[in-house]
Amino acid sequence: MSLYDGSLDVPGILKEWYEAELTSNYGAYIPFVGTVRSEDGIDGLSFDIYEPILKSWFDNWQDKAKQKGAVIKMAHSRGDVMLHESSYIAAVFSPKRRVALEFIDEFVEDFKASAPIWKYDLKNGQRVYAKDRSTAIKGSGILGAK
């Protein structure tokens, strides 16, 4: 897992990961690349990350991948990422395609629901929490009024 300040060098990271696993005998390599879209007049997005819990969340997924003979890689941006730049890459390597196809889907969905990362819209010089697009982590609310 690698965190970067600002946008990701997608071709460079995809190449680095591909070459790192070239002789590991994986038959399938499936990266997922997330790029900032122009919508609602934003200039870009910005991210806060809480690294200790992100790391344990990721390590847990890496263990699950290992049990299926697969390996996961992930890169994410901290701070500002402008329109048409990329902020997120996840990838699965596995011996056979089915495991990789299922894993990348499950991993990306759980990432969206659980990874301790907060997204802000950059708009008119403001940094506005993307509350409506955010998901409460499973088990949230225990401190709320009964």
Partner: protein, 81 residues
């Protein structure tokens, strides 16, 4: 008979968009934390949607004894990617 070593001081951190500095609180469990934060106007509105971690492990119940030096984190709704 309050011996020094009986004091349980924990640190409470508010992550991401919650605009609030960390608190140092003398509490022994999460029920006490809930009671305190429910009276805090800045934080109150977040509580129904916040996950809670003790020493960076997510917890899903208030039945959790705290030790001196524990770190408690509040995690509001997330959106990575």
């Amino acid at each position: 008979m309050n011996k020094k070593e009986d004091v349980v001081l924990v640190r409470v951190e508010f992550l991401g968009p919650i605009q609030k500095d960390a608190l140092e609180l003398e509490i022994v469990n999460l029920n006490e934390l809930a009671a305190i934060l429910q009276k805090d106007e800045e934080v109150k509105e977040w509580l129904d949607n916040c996950a809670v971690a003790v020493n960076d492990n997510l917890v899903t119940s208030l039945e959790c004894e705290l030790k001196n030096g524990d770190k408690i984190s509040l995690l509001p709704p997330v959106c990575g990617g």
